[in-house]
């Protein structure tokens, strides 16, 4: 009994040590930063629901706004994609977990989603209304699927890397969102604080790009070492 206990302790110690040492051997870099906005922050226009009373009634407390350019209170940009554009040549496989795009209150949530090529994207209808999901893609197959029932979901896989695939609902003309399909896992979309974080970037030199539907693109070249935390900031302004 004593021998088995000893063997178990030693075995557990060896496993833990190997796991720890392997994580130390491959501790990729973390690239983080913010996307700032230069200039006076625009006031986004409230959504005009037109004759769609059912949509308007879902927003009794706070009317949603046009999300094509959201500048956060801290003068940063929401919904900007930051990604490693060039420099990574390793093999990657898409995560098993899907990316989700929902329709709530007659708005796409999130306004910008990002997935890897080959990763599942699940489009859901969270409203008790008819929506349709139509993609305006150039490199991936377009599709247009009606979702008449609340809770319906449609799963798609985009095989080709492609930025800025526009999503539309033709029943509700104001509904618009973007889906980015990336070739690797090194990407991040800014949120309410305008920051991004990209983890586990292998040591090397890369082109980092920011993409925004209204503010355009900007690139920076970065070099990172294993285990390094690198801060990279972008500043965008109206074109």
């Amino acid at each position: 009994m004593k021998t088995i206990k000893q063997i178990s302790i030693i075995g557990g110690f060896l496993i833990a040590t190997s796991l720890l040492s392997s994580s130390l051997l491959y501790a990729g870099a973390t690239v983080s930063g913010k996307v700032a906005f230069e200039g006076a922050a625009p006031t986004p226009a409230p959504i005009n629901f037109g004759a769609e009373r059912q949509c308007a009634l879902m927003h009794k407390d706070k009317m949603p706004v046009n999300e094509d350019l959201i500048v956060n209170p801290n003068q940063t940009v929401k919904y900007a994609l930051v990604y490693v554009k060039d420099g990574f040549t390793g093999d990657v496989s898409a995560p098993a977990a899907p990316v989700e795009v929902d329709q709530n209150g007659c708005m796409f949530t999130p306004h910008v989603a990002a997935a890897m090529a080959g990763q599942k994207v699940v489009f859901k209808n969270g409203d008790a209304l008819l929506h349709n999901i139509r993609t305006e893609s150039k490199l991936n197959k377009m599709f247009n699927i009606a979702q008449p029932i609340q809770g319906m979901s449609t799963q798609k896989v985009f095989q080709e890397p492609e930025l800025g695939i526009r999503l539309r609902c033709d029943v509700h003309f104001w509904m618009s969102a973007y889906l980015h399909v990336l070739k690797n896992q090194f990407f991040s979309v800014t949120g309410d604080d305008g920051t991004f974080t990209i983890k586990d970037v292998p040591a090397g030199t890369y082109t980092l790009e920011v993409w925004h539907e209204k503010l355009g693109t900007q690139t920076q070249t970065i070099t990172v070492a294993d285990g390094e935390t690198k801060t990279v900031d972008f500043t965008l302004k109206k074109q």
Partner: protein, 152 residues
């Protein structure tokens, strides 16, 4: 001089008539062009986006009608009967046009068609059978599609 001009005029007119006739005849033999991402379905008004589900025909007035899926084609056909020999669907696998009267239809729950009819078409019975073996579904004849769609 006048005689030559008159002959040229008659010749040109005959050529014009033959050309127009050819176009009309061609219209009945080839499916209408669909501009994907732009044309709207003549039944549900959704923008036609996916070639493999789309269908087209010429109605009784000779007008081209276009559909985002076979379900919409059939719903239209119920109200405005279409001739199968002037109706085309796409083979789900090859995405090539197939005349409706020679296509093999499968009703399945495993394919998300634009308006949810779950009806796909194949150019050959063997391809339809292979699809059903891999994905499930039942074969449906063209003449039975209206009854199926009306139960959906």
């Amino acid at each position: 001089m006048c005689g030559i001009a008159y002959r040229n005029w008659i010749t040109g007119f005959i050529i014009l008539i033959l050309t127009v006739s050819g176009c009309v005849g061609e219209q009945g033999r080839r499916p209408p062009v669909i501009r994907y991402g732009r044309d709207v379905c003549d039944e549900c008004r959704m923008i036609i986006s996916e070639e493999r589900f789309s269908a087209a025909s010429f109605n009784s007035e000779g007008e081209a009608v276009r559909f985002d899926g076979i379900g919409c084609l059939i719903r239209y056909h119920v109200r405005h009967p279409l001739h199968a020999e002037k109706t085309w669907v796409h083979d789900y696998q090859s995405e090539k046009w197939v005349q409706a009267d020679s296509a093999f239809f499968v009703s399945t729950q495993t394919v998300a068609t634009p308006m949810g009819s779950g009806i796909v078409a194949f150019a050959s019975q063997s391809e339809a059978a292979r699809f059903m073996s891999d994905h499930g579904g039942t074969s449906v004849e063209w003449n039975n599609l209206p009854a199926l769609v009306q139960t959906q």
